[in-house]
């Protein structure tokens, strides 16, 4: 419709007041280029009945002005014979004679179809949004840039048994678990400031008083200038997944513990036999049993890794910090690994004595995991280098190999649980994909950092830093139970 489409204007005398005259509509339609094949042939236009009655009523009585807004007019002129709907705002203005008696009607109409359709489209969109928002299984919310929540979907109210009045703004704090509210508030305060999409898990109280775990995902809606105009978020119930995850961890925990019993007796018998054969002078048998013992130790290592991963996940990791000489520990670990890796020479390039307050066994495990990894992934090389240096209140330890290297795209994943770098020519390298994950977790939970530098075909350097001053704070820290 052209913006400058002429308005509809008609003047009737008393005899033809009943409705807008057909010719008027036709003229108006022609002027507005609304030509239809059947236009005019049947005089197919009509106004809803209700528009006529007030007209006649007003003229029949005192003759008051009548205004009809967004009046639908069905015009049957579409080539498909479909009624063509137009909307007009009408004003019926009675005309009076010299004696103040109504003697005519001035009708002024202005088409508002476009506005009406636009508004209906908006209302439909709004309706669709509400239908969607209120019928999804997720709880949903919207907040101002500063985090003040102004809208929740119906599911939120159903689940929490609350109202918008109770919940708007910061009311959500009331349905959070007292043990978690501090963590959640601290997190979201930073998140609102940050302006980046975020995720968080926490328990949320239902109307029945029971808490269920939810995963909240929030993302910022921005205007053209990249300013956050509001936040949109959903909460997904992850109680089931968490339970399954916990059952899985529990199962692995129990299974690995159970595996230790037969492994203990196997190792016991192996050592008993090894010793008896040795005492009897049977070197060959004794040697074979020694090899069997090494394999049993590998099996034990795998079981320990599974147990450690489970403890990390469940937050039951205990550290027993003590003050120890890092160089001495490195020496011990290197000696032990050197025994099982005769092809490689492990070179030590260590800074002067560094006393570290940490869990000696666990840091030893970190070193063991990095060294065995370096040897595993450099089958063609004959050298692995361990370096330490002091750097800004930290001790930085690196393990460098000259092996296959890790492609840049894979490097961010090497410290993930179950991640394994696949070999090109040979079968995948053996292992559970837990070694680096465990090493990284141990380092991080000591307040340290771990990273990788690598070039394909040249080799890999795994480095971790441990704080020297605050290391004693790492004691007996329980890992976060949530991620």
């Amino acid at each position: 419709m052209d913006d400058d489409a002429p308005p509809l204007l008609d003047v009737h005398d008393a005899a033809t007041f009943l409705a807008v005259h057909p010719n008027t509509i036709r003229r108006w339609a022609q002027a507005n280029k609304l030509h239809g094949s059947r236009m005019g042939t049947r005089g197919d236009w009509r106004l809803p009945e209700k528009t006529c009655s007030p007209c006649s009523a007003l003229l029949g009585t005192k003759g008051e002005r009548f205004v009809a807004n967004e009046l639908p007019i069905l015009l049957d002129w579409d080539t498909n014979g479909e009624p063509y709907r137009k909307y007009l705002d009408f004003v019926y203005e009675p005309l009076f004679d010299a004696n103040d008696s109504p003697d005519g009607l001035m009708c002024f109409g202005y088409e508002v179809t476009e506005q009406v359709l636009a508004r209906q489209g908006f209302e439909e969109g709004e309706e669709r949004f509400r239908t969607l928002a209120d019928n999804i299984q997720n709880l949903a919310w919207m907040a101002n840039p500063d985090g003040w929540i102004f809208w929740y979907n119906q599911r939120w109210y159903e689940y929490t048994g609350t109202t918008l009045e109770e919940m708007q703004g910061w009311g959500w704090e009331r349905v959070h678990h007292p043990d978690h509210i501090e963590r959640v508030v601290a997190f979201v305060q930073e998140a609102w400031q940050n302006g980046a999409p975020w995720e968080l898990t926490f328990p949320l109280r239902g109307r029945d008083g029971q808490y269920r775990w939810v995963l909240t995902r929030a993302f910022p809606v921005r205007d053209q200038d990249r300013n956050v105009v509001r936040w949109v978020g959903t909460n997904t119930d992850i109680t089931e997944q968490r339970t399954l995850e916990q059952q899985k961890d529990q199962f692995i925990g129990i299974a690995s513990h159970e595996l230790k019993t037969p492994v203990t007796s196997i190792k016991g018998y192996t050592q008993l036999l090894e010793r008896r054969f040795r005492n009897a002078g049977d070197e060959r048998a004794s040697e074979m049993l020694g090899k069997l013992d090494v394999q049993v130790d590998k099996l034990t290592g795998l079981i320990e890794d599974l147990l450690d991963a489970t403890k990390i996940e469940s937050g039951n990791l205990l550290f027993q910090p003590s003050l120890f000489d890092l160089n001495a520990l490195i020496g011990e670990v290197v000696e032990e690994i050197q025994r099982t890796a005769p092809r490689h020479t492990i070179v030590q390039d260590l800074a002067p004595v560094v006393a570290l307050a940490a869990d000696r066994d666990r840091i030893g495990q970190v070193l063991t995991n990095l060294l065995t990894n370096a040897i595993k992934y450099s089958p063609q090389a004959d050298r692995v280098v361990v370096r330490t240096e002091r750097r800004d209140g930290s001790v930085v330890t690196s393990v460098q190999d000259f092996g296959i290297g890790i492609p840049a795209v894979l490097q961010p994943h090497v410290f993930e649980r179950f991640y394994r770098v696949a070999g090109e020519t040979r079968a995948t390298y053996p292992g559970l994909g837990l070694g680096l994950y465990i090493a990284a977790e141990f380092v991080r939970r000591h307040g340290g950092d771990i990273w990788v530098e690598s070039e394909e075909g040249t080799g890999t350097t795994m480095t971790f830093s441990l704080p020297l001053e605050h290391a004693h704070d790492a004691g007996n820290e329980r890992g976060g139970g949530t991620r």
């Binding site: 492994v263 203990t264 007796s265 016991g268 018998y269 008993l272």
Partner: protein
């Protein structure tokens, strides 16, 4: 060989572990009694041993009769050391055990 052979009581749920530990300790010159019965640790029908190797924590240190008995915790738990300390045991041997470690620990406490 000491004039009187030291006697060690090993309590463990698992028959294979009892069997192999008995042989290992006997090879090392100890007299060994094994049990999986908690009652044995209450009544000591064969008299008090010189050392207890236990796979469970018992409050033996609070009983007059057994409070001076050296007790070693024999555990598959990664935190065996901590558990042993908390339980007031004299030491621990982690499972799976290294024979030299077992013998050295026993010798130190018996």
């Amino acid at each position: 060989m000491t004039p009187h052979r030291k006697r060690i009581l090993v309590a463990d749920d698992d028959p294979a572990i009892r069997d192999v530990v008995r042989m290992l300790l006997e090879d090392a010159g100890y007299d060994v009694e094994t049990t999986d019965d908690a009652a044995t640790l209450r009544d000591f029908p064969n008299g008090l041993p010189d050392l207890l190797l236990l796979d469970i924590c018992l409050a033996l240190k609070s009983h007059t009769a057994t409070k001076d008995l050296p007790i070693l915790l024999f555990s598959a738990n990664r935190d065996a050391e901590q558990i042993a300390r908390d339980a007031g045991a004299d030491g621990f041997v982690a499972k799976p055990f290294d024979l030299d470690t077992l013998l050295a620990t026993v010798a130190r406490h018996v």
